[in-house]
């Protein structure tokens, strides 16, 4: 059952073209030349209930534009969006009741007052009844430790604390769908950990559907079963992370430390990529041979002191994808 449906979505922006220098500035006083920028150029995807999807791409790829259209803030140039059967443009208030959105760079919390005041406001706006309100706050306290910051004025919160506050605020009305736009940006390790824990918890216990735009590879690895990669307004990959790894960089590295230097250890199914002193690094494809088999074969040729195994770096995979 597709909860979110995006069909041939297009978004064009008119951008003023300014020429350099004095003549350019004077010209622009008289006439404005505009050009069309295709921020989102015909994308389609569907997301089922309970999925946690990473929506990634280089800067300017069209991620934020897509999320804004999904949440009803921006109207598409063409194409349509259905969230639980409703259009966020035509039925904004209805759709938004079931959405929780967090923008990494912009907070919805009232800056001058304590965190709790914004919660009270949202309680009234979303018409959350007392029981559910208390229950949700309890859950926040457990995972995000909201009770430690609920009485602090928002302007005195650290970035990590403010992000926890924004997450809590977005979840207060128990929305079945969450859009998180760069939620871990600029956070320290501890804060990232608790945010990720929260996302995992909320997805497993409430089957919340989550779309996460992020640059953080840790986020992708920890949280997302599915990856949609967008670049220059077009979707270039859409599938599970493992599938992607298998297709683009289906290899692993075996680092072998011998007792002595050996220059002639080879294997028909593995490539030697590095040789330094008593260490040889082999690269092999998962499809061709398993790690344990490779270790067995090599140890037959020469005694092994120590091994370690490396997966392909996600970073490299994604960089390769962006280049396409």
């Amino acid at each position: 059952m597709a909860l979110i449906e995006v069909n041939h979505l297009v978004k064009n922006f008119k951008v003023a073209e300014k020429e350099k220098g004095l003549t350019g500035a004077l010209k622009s006083v008289v006439s404005r030349k505009t050009k069309i920028v295709k921020a989102v150029n015909d994308i389609s995807f569907t997301i089922r209930e309970g999925e946690v999807v990473a929506y990634i791409g280089p800067n300017g790829a069209g991620k934020s534009t897509t999320v804004k259209m999904l949440s009803g803030i921006l109207t598409p140039t063409s194409g349509n969006i259905l969230i639980d059967g409703l259009s966020p443009q035509k039925n904004r208030k209805q759709v938004v009741k079931n959405l929780g959105v967090v923008f990494g760079q912009r907070s919805q919390l009232n800056w001058d007052l304590r965190l709790g005041e914004t919660f009270e406001l949202l309680k009234r706006i979303y018409q959350i009844d007392n029981a559910k309100y208390r229950q949700n706050l309890e859950t926040m306290n457990e995972i995000l430790e909201i009770d430690t910051i609920i009485n602090t004025p928002v302007r005195q919160l650290s970035l990590g604390q403010r992000m926890r506050g924004d997450l809590a605020a977005a979840m207060l009305h128990s929305p079945p769908i969450l859009f998180l736009d760069e939620p871990t940006i600029g956070l320290d390790v501890e804060a990232k950990y608790s945010i990720r824990k929260f996302i995992k918890e909320v997805n497993s216990s409430k089957k919340t559907t989550i779309i996460l735009t992020t640059h953080d590879l840790g986020d992708i690895q920890e949280l997302c079963s599915r990856l949609i990669i967008i670049n220059k307004g077009v979707i270039i990959e859409d599938g599970s992370l493992n599938d992607l790894i298998d297709r683009i960089a289906p290899y692993r590295q075996l680092i072998v430390d011998f007792y002595k230097e050996h220059s002639d250890i080879t294997h028909p199914l593995a490539e030697v990529v590095e040789k330094e002193g008593a260490r040889i690094v082999f690269r092999f494809e998962k499809a061709n041979i398993t790690a344990s088999r490779l270790i067995e074969d090599i140890s037959k040729k020469m005694r092994i002191k120590d091994v370690s195994l490396n997966e392909a770096k996600i970073e490299d995979i994604i960089r390769a994808v962006y280049k396409k």
């Binding site: 004095l22 500035a25 004077l26 006083v29």
Partner: protein
Amino acid sequence: MKPYLYIAKTKVLSALAYRFDVISSIAIQCIVVIATSYFWVAVYGDRQSALGVTREQMLTYTIMSALLACIFTANVENRVIQSVRKGNVALDMLKPVNVFGIYLAEDLGAIAIALCQNALPLLLISCVLIQVPTPSSVVNFLLFLFSVSVSYLINWLITACFSMLAFFVISIGPLHQTKNVLIRILSGSIIPLWFFPESLQRVLSFLPFVYIYQLPLSIYIGKLGFSEILTQTGLQMVWLLIVYGVFTLIRKKAFSNVLIQGG
């Protein structure tokens, strides 16, 4: 020569970017001048003169007052406020150059721009819609110019003093407005002080504000006799010294404050 041309070019470019602000400020000044002129025309009614000043003189007074306001803008307060906000006060104050000297030089340079950008259009519009503000005589005009230079400095120093209060005061919005209101009204820039009750006039003559607008303007419209001009201008210069003294005092205090608190 090239770098100067480049500077001029960037100035024009940024001026174009701010054209909205410029047009807006000219419009605002026009509105105030025109409205005040109609006020005087209406209030004079059929009377030819009041308290020794004719209606025409009053209109000239109003127009010239607005022109002076264009020129008297002192950016020094924005600079000080900005440097307090951004926190580089300590840096600025510890430079081996007189910081306020720099601000003054910049503001003097800005006068030229203000004259062309703001004062000139305002003057032209006033000539067309109200009347041509001719000075009462050439001599008066020259004396006016001299008096205006002193006024400018007095106004600048007072503004600088108030801006330094930003070091000691937390909320500057109300302070800024108070200063503007005080200067605008107590200097006779909108309503000349000769309409005020005698007692109030005497009190206000012990304040420097009168010498900023009303004195040069009175000279311009020919309200003062020659001996009066001499005494008043003399008093004006005394006030310049007093205000300069106060300015130096506050600056020393502000400086030591910065040293203690670290900007």
